[in-house]
């Protein structure tokens, strides 16, 4: 055993400390005393971002189980952006929704700790612990409005199926431990590779179990049924947070496990993943078209986006991995923006998430309507937004790897999905408002957050080469 370096865990420690400070500050503050809890959270997140940048290209590892390779650091930055946007939007909506701000920020930060650890884990046991840290915190966030029966119900459904999936994941880990005597991805990879010709049946079962566990977490068909309910019942800020952060962390873990340790088994899992990816893209789009609640519609859209991400994973090449990273960055910025707007338009008693609530939004909230339209166009994959480049990149990776049919299915489903994104846009700009109450005007710091995320979406859409370069550098050095 050599000396341990603590470098690789610094980004995670920053966020843990911020979470603890926020929690204690909330607990010890006097009644009615104002405290910049969001500011404390932002400081921790900025620290995590700064340390991730400083660790770039250094391939630090800590304790032999946490690694800070560029792949993880790139995703750390995406996760920090997710956290920052969530804090900025919540700063605006927490009082309105009577959310306990300190608890909310602390839970969100702990969920981010889990996500970052999941992205950085190079050992299956640590990955399981990270998965649970993330999931348990997100269950709590989903049900944070205890007085709302919807939210609590959504949280329980999410909890139940999430715990179910975790058990599958863990069973997979147990089988791999049983056959290789280790939970380290490196060692598992070596041993699995040596018996790739005639694999142990336990390894095959492990692959199946891990596939199920990860497919649940990324909400891939047929393991997606929790996600529309959880996304609809949770407060819109939380929906934005989990549809981007949880998905990013889960896809990252999926990629790391299946393209490093289990890559020798690709002949066994690729066909299954092919079917899952195709079904995910098609079902997410087709069912999404029929929804009347915007939150539910975007939930199905997010399922479909998970399918596009699996396309990149299936491609497996360096282009495929880089396309996953770029897609996650683009998708996180866009989806957080869209859910941020939904959150800002809601009120304490009404979510305002029906499609009809968006009729004539252009007349009452011209700025928000424009922002929403741009975010939706990016989700639909229109140039010159981030979504277009991201989709183009993923599809070209799939074609490069020979998955022509999957690329065609993806392209067609993305064309169909344009229908429901544009339906909202048409609603906002070309329909007159009926008798429904007009949402309150929106000002303040949340708009700054939305503007930042729009800037990101347009930057990735117009000048993507720099970020693509970083994404390629991220996957060049590892697995």
């Amino acid at each position: 055993m050599t000396t341990y370096s603590f470098d690789a865990v610094i980004p995670i420690v920053c966020v843990i400390l911020a979470g603890l400070v926020v929690m204690l500050a909330e607990a010890f503050r006097g009644r009615g005393e104002k405290m910049p809890l969001g500011g404390l959270a932002v400081i921790g997140l900025v620290g995590a971002a700064a340390s991730s940048v400083l660790l770039w290209n250094r391939n630090a590892t800590s304790f032999g189980v946490v690694t800070a390779d560029n792949f993880a650091l790139f995703l750390n930055l995406v996760l920090v952006a997710v956290g920052l946007m969530t804090v900025l939007i919540t700063a605006q909506t927490a009082d309105r929704d009577k959310l306990p701000a300190g608890e909310f920020y602390a839970t969100a930060l702990f969920a981010l700790v889990g996500m970052m650890l999941m992205v950085q884990a190079s050992d299956l046991l640590v990955m399981f612990l990270a998965l649970e840290t993330m999931s348990i915190a997100v269950y709590v966030m989903t049900g944070i409005r205890r007085e709302a029966v919807n939210g609590t119900e959504a949280a329980f459904k999410y909890f139940l199926l999430g715990a179910f999936a975790s058990a599958f994941f863990l069973y997979g880990v147990a089988f791999l431990y049983g056959t290789t005597g280790s939970t380290s991805l490196d060692r598992i990879g070596t041993i699995v590779a040596s018996q790739a010709m005639a694999p142990n049946p336990l390894v095959l079962m492990a692959v199946g179990m891990l596939l199920v566990g990860f497919a649940f977490k990324v909400a891939a068909v047929p393991f997606h049924m929790w996600s529309p309910d959880a996304y609809e019942g949770a407060p819109a800020v939380v929906t934005g947070f989990m549809s981007t952060g949880v998905k990013a962390a889960a896809i990252a873990g999926f990629t790391r496990v299946f393209l490093s340790a289990l890559e020798p088994m690709i002949g066994y899992w690729a066909p299954a993943l092919w079917v899952i990816a195709a079904a995910t893209m098609v079902l997410g789009t087709v069912v999404g078209v029929q929804q009347t609640s915007i939150k539910r519609m975007l939930a199905y859209s997010s399922i479909a986006h998970g399918g596009y991400l699996l396309l990149g994973l299936l491609a497996g090449s360096d282009v495929g991995k880089a396309s996953i990273l770029f897609y996650l960055a683009a998708y996180a910025l866009t989806n957080l923006g869209a859910f941020g707007i939904i959150a800002l338009l809601g009120s304490y008693s009404r979510d305002n998430d029906n499609l009809r609530d968006y009729a004539g939004l252009w007349h009452s909230h011209p700025v928000l309507a424009t922002l929403m339209a741009l975010f939706l166009l990016s989700l639909g994959g229109f140039p010159p937004t981030a979504g277009f480049i991201a989709k183009w990149y993923v599809f070209s990776a799939a074609i490069g790897a020979g998955y022509y049919w999957l690329a065609i299915i993806g392209f067609l489903s993305s064309v169909v999905s344009v229908y429901f994104y544009l339906r909202i846009v048409v609603m906002m700009f070309m329909t007159d408002r009926d008798a429904r109450p007009v949402p309150a005007p929106v000002t303040g710091i949340a708009l700054a957050g939305l503007a930042l995320s729009l800037a990101g979406v347009l930057y990735l859409g117009v000048l993507p080469s720099q970020v693509i370069e970083w994404a390629q550098a991220s996957v060049a050095t590892i697995f």
Partner: protein, 99 residues
């Protein structure tokens, strides 16, 4: 005793838990079913660890037990919150979201 017996028992327990999640009609029993699944996995970790003559498997079990406890705490809290809304533990009572 050969490891096959332990693995078979663990598989049966896991299947019982998994079936319980879908078949039982009581929120508390659903929680218990998930716990059975996790404990089935624990059993196989211990069995594998013993087969390999290392303590890793048993150490992993402690981590899993800790996680299971944290999960049960959140799960029970959610059940209480749900019960306060509807005065019922039957999942059929909670249908404000399409399942």
């Amino acid at each position: 005793m050969p490891i096959g017996y332990y693995l078979a028992l663990s598989g049966v327990l896991f299947a019982i838990g998994a079936a319980g999640v879908f078949l039982r009609r009581n929120l508390i029993t659903l929680l218990l079913s998930v716990e059975i699944m996790l404990n089935a996995v624990n059993l196989s970790f211990v069995a594998f660890g013993r087969q390999q003559g290392s303590v890793d498997g048993q150490i992993i079990t402690f981590f899993v037990m800790t996680v299971a406890a944290a999960e049960a705490a959140v799960g029970l809290a959610l059940v209480i919150a749900l019960f306060r809304h509807r005065e019922s533990l039957n999942p059929e009572a909670f249908t404000s979201l399409k399942w």
